[in-house]
């Protein structure tokens, strides 16, 4: 790729990304009413959308229901709820997934 094309592409793509990241952060006042209620639950919605599809779809566009992913998810959720510890919960899920893969359960 030529230097001219590379830098044009880089700056256009970077501008597109920044254009979506900046406006929300510059809001001067916390939105109230329906918009405020909607934004209040964005964290839960973000966590759910980033957690569930990879575990059910394995990065594809069809339900896979793989044992290693499901058991890792269950282990993480149970340990998180029981211990209230983020690090323990993730470690439990990773260990479960690793064990499943070592024994060929995936």
């Amino acid at each position: 790729m030529s230097a001219w094309t590379f830098w044009l592409t880089t700056l256009l793509v970077a501008g597109a990304v920044f254009a979506t990241r900046l406006p929300g952060l510059l809001l001067a006042r916390p939105p109230a009413g329906p918009l405020g209620r909607a934004l209040d639950v964005v964290p839960a919605a973000v966590f759910a959308t980033l957690a569930v599809p990879p575990l059910l779809l394995a990065g594809g566009a069809a339900l896979t229901l793989r044992a290693d992913l499901l058991l890792a998810g269950v282990a993480t959720a149970i340990v998180a709820d029981a211990s209230r510890r983020f690090d323990l919960a993730v470690a439990a899920g990773l260990v479960m997934a690793g064990l499943c893969r070592v024994v060929g359960l995936h």
Binding site: T9, G24, L27, P30, P53, A80
Partner: protein
């Protein structure tokens, strides 16, 4: 006349105070405890384990950049300037398929729209931080940084936590990208390490730790169902935006109802 003006001004001040007070109460009600404290160092350290999740994506990006005709140095420079995992992968996929710069930028703009919501949700938590100081925070804003810092910020923490988390994620991502670009995709982490699951499992743990009450549980269920449904319909990178949007819309009709306080996390969880 002056008395009337003074009454109107006083009424407006009262309304503003009530609005601000309501917002503060809402944030206090949403107070959560997640690990890491609220300093720059705490945010940085909290980001490092989650940064491991970027390793498989970085290797995928390295392969895609090679396919799009970028040299290893160009792949690293592109990553430094753009700094968006999804955006970089989408751009390289399109460029590799022969698309132009404008098409790539347009598609990246579309798949990054969710950041508008993340930024708007974070803005009230940054207090009186000046716009000039929000610029670097905007550059580093990502799903993972948002996930790591929204809890400490809601609990009254400093924006430094967000800066630290963004810095930690930036360093780990760029390190992984550099390794992937110069290794040419020849070296990949073993599957049994399950690094591909660090991100979804981290998000699941945060969901269990942070979401409280029937309302947020319902929102999470709607968001997850919408994201899965959109992915099944072939929405690709749009599925995340669909899930977040559906979850946010699900919160519109119902007034806030919270369950009784859950038991507190252990001291280790809040250090």
């Amino acid at each position: 006349m002056e008395e009337m003006l003074a009454r109107i001004l006083a009424h407006e001040r009262l309304a503003e105070a009530e609005r601000v007070g309501y917002q503060a109460a809402r944030l206090r009600a949403a107070r959560v405890d997640v690990p890491g404290g609220s300093s720059l160092a705490a945010g940085f350290l909290a980001a490092l384990p989650l940064g491991l999740a970027s390793v498989p994506f970085a290797f995928a990006y390295g392969v895609a950049a090679d396919g799009a005709g970028l040299s290893p140095l160009q792949a690293v420079l592109f990553s430094f300037v753009v700094y968006s995992g999804t955006g970089q992968l989408v751009a390289m996929g399109l460029l590799g398929a022969g698309a132009g710069a404008l098409a790539a930028a347009g598609m990246v703009l579309a798949v990054s729209l969710r950041h508008l919501l993340l930024g708007a949700a974070l803005a009230p938590l940054l207090g009186r931080l000046r716009p000039a100081r929000r610029l670097p925070l905007a550059f580093g804003l990502s799903d993972e940084a948002f996930a790591l810092s929204v809890g400490p910020l809601r609990a009254g923490g400093s924006p430094a936590h967000l800066a630290g988390a963004e810095l930690g994620l930036f360093v780990t991502w760029q390190t992984a990208v550099a390794a992937a670009a110069f290794a040419g995709g020849a070296v990949a982490p073993p599957r049994w390490l399950a690094l591909d699951l660090v991100l979804p499992l981290s998000m699941l743990a945060l969901l269990v730790l942070v979401a409280r009450g029937a309302r947020e549980g319902a929102v999470a269920a709607v968001a997850a169902a919408a994201a899965v449904g959109a992915a099944l319909l072939g929405a690709g990178p749009w599925a995340t935006l669909a899930g977040i949007g559906a979850g946010a819309l699900a919160a519109l009709p119902a007034p806030e109802v919270r369950c009784p306080e859950r038991r507190s996390p252990s001291p280790q969880a809040t250090r």
